[in-house]
Amino acid sequence: MKKNLTHILQEGHTHTLSSDKKDALKTHLVAYMNKHPFNAGGVRPIHTSRSIFVLFTGLTRYKYMPIALIIALVLGGGTSYAAEYALPGDTLYPIKINVNEEVRSALAISPEAQAEWDTTRAERRLGEAVTLAAEGKLSAETRTDLQTAFEVHTNQAQTLFAQIEERGRTEEAVIGRTKLEASLQAHSQLLSEVEAEHSDDNTEIGIMLASVQSHIVPVGESVAALAPTVRTMAMMKSDTATENTNEEMSANTGTRTAHDAVTESMVQARMHIASDSLEQVQELFEKFKDDLGTQRVGEVESRIHLAQSAFARGEASFEAKNYAQALASFQETFARSQELRVYITVGARIQQQDADDHEDTVPETEQKNDDSSQIPVNASVGSETDMQSDMDSTTTNEIEIEAHTESDTPDEHDEDNGGLRVHGNLNVDLDI
């Protein structure tokens, strides 16, 4: 007679803590929890394994980085500011995407922050593509890399927006998606313009453009699904006069018609976002007007007017307590402003068309409220300094830094004049 071993093992499931012991442990746990109360606000060190792993990944690909650079990064020099304007092919470009951007990824804790950062990263890749394309330097290989990265970040942002929606934060999701859609539209237009200017050699530009355009509709649709009363950029582009708005509004029964009541405070919030955005655009225009070239200046001016009149309509609706209409108008203002933000900044940059001239323009495609890339990074080398009091030391994350010079192991790395090999994990305490 035989018995099934799996069933025997399953019997093990009955093995439990005695109820006394379970209660005793619980009492102890409660005491501990009272001693360490929940504290989501305030400054806290960032020890997420994600940040460590990601930083580590960024560095190992460039194992033999110049010592000075590693020391600067690791021991408190902050992320490399100079790398921020690098383009694919520049020496510092790997630092930009593998270190600077990864550090900022690690800082983005909430889904909203992550989604915002993913959107920014997607924008950066597109901006780089446009800039290179304008210089006639968008090779197939670079285009593939940039396209892949752009798609990854866009998809990730969309996934996060869906999560944000799930949590009931519809407004945040709408705003985030609107920003994304606007950015895609602007880059799409710029790519078309550059494509036209390089008619003899624009295959790669065309491919990139197709990819960007293929993402516009899904993002736009996701905006419409969330907020049936707003008009997406696609709708605005088709040059409808305002009398069509009502029909479109009623036709657009997204999945959430009944979900969100349009409240006065919601509209007010959107109004503030829209007016801030509009203001930012006007400032950007003043700053970059001379760099845009006459054709773009004309285009931008007329679009600013459209954004301004949308805002005025919003204000009027708001005063008339017609909140749904007001929201739609402020949404339009916001979307148009975001599109302009990108169009102005990237447009100004490519107008320069100077291969060596990377140092002047700050990447202002990014929102003003982004964290500055000057983040003091204090790395602690060695075992964890935290979490000592109540427990034994954890799985220690040790970091071994071997410095080597040319004289060491000459067979392996002849191309470097000394570097630093970093093993293990890097614990990073950040003061935000």
Partner: protein, 176 residues
């Protein structure tokens, strides 16, 4: 009720639900009741600390298992490869996946869980771990692979190899 109260209650509820599972997981690996109880304690206090700082945990259950697992690994490291003999892996054929009800897993009827336990302890720790997760805790290969960070195929193969070993042990031990 404010948010921190809510989170605190949620966590204590999680404790009620999961303490036994974590205990079993620890106990069957370290074979020491008191140690297992300490490990449960530490798993939960440590997890609480993480949450109390406002960090998000996607899957609480997985997080607890992972924390417990890390603590167990630490424990074994301190003991310097532990007191458990690892069986030499000789000539084990690659088994067909998912054979839980086949003849291969049948053993003498006199076996009970208590009697199997010492044999479990003779298994290599990675084998014991998957068997506990799969059969004692009833987690699927997919969940286990997510927990341990290894592919489902690797997990399935390991489960089958582990079962074969255990069965072999059960067949060779005569004084049940």
């Amino acid at each position: 009720m404010d948010r921190s109260e809510h989170i605190k209650n949620l966590f204590l509820h999680t404790y009620e639900e999961s303490a036994d599972a974590i205990y079993r997981f620890c106990f069957f690996r370290v074979s020491d009741k008191e140690l297992a109880e300490d490990l449960v304690q530490e798993t939960f206090t440590r997890s609480w600390l993480y949450i109390s700082e406002g960090k998000e945990v996607q899957n609480m259950r997985a997080f607890l298992y992972q924390t417990a697992r890390n603590l167990i690994i630490d424990h074994f490291r301190k003991k310097k490869s532990g007191s458990l003999d690892a069986l030499v892996d000789e000539g084990v054929q690659f088994e067909e996946l998912d054979m839980s009800d086949s003849e291969e897993h049948m053993v003498d009827v006199r076996y009970t869980f208590e009697k199997i336990q010492p044999l479990l302890n003779k298994l290599d720790d990675t084998y014991r771990e998957v068997l506990i997760l799969r059969y004692v805790e009833d987690l699927g290969p997919k969940e286990i692979s997510a927990l341990l960070g290894e592919s489902e195929n690797v997990i399935s193969v390991r489960i089958n190899r582990a079962m074969t070993k255990l069965r072999t042990l059960a067949a060779t031990y005569t004084d049940i």
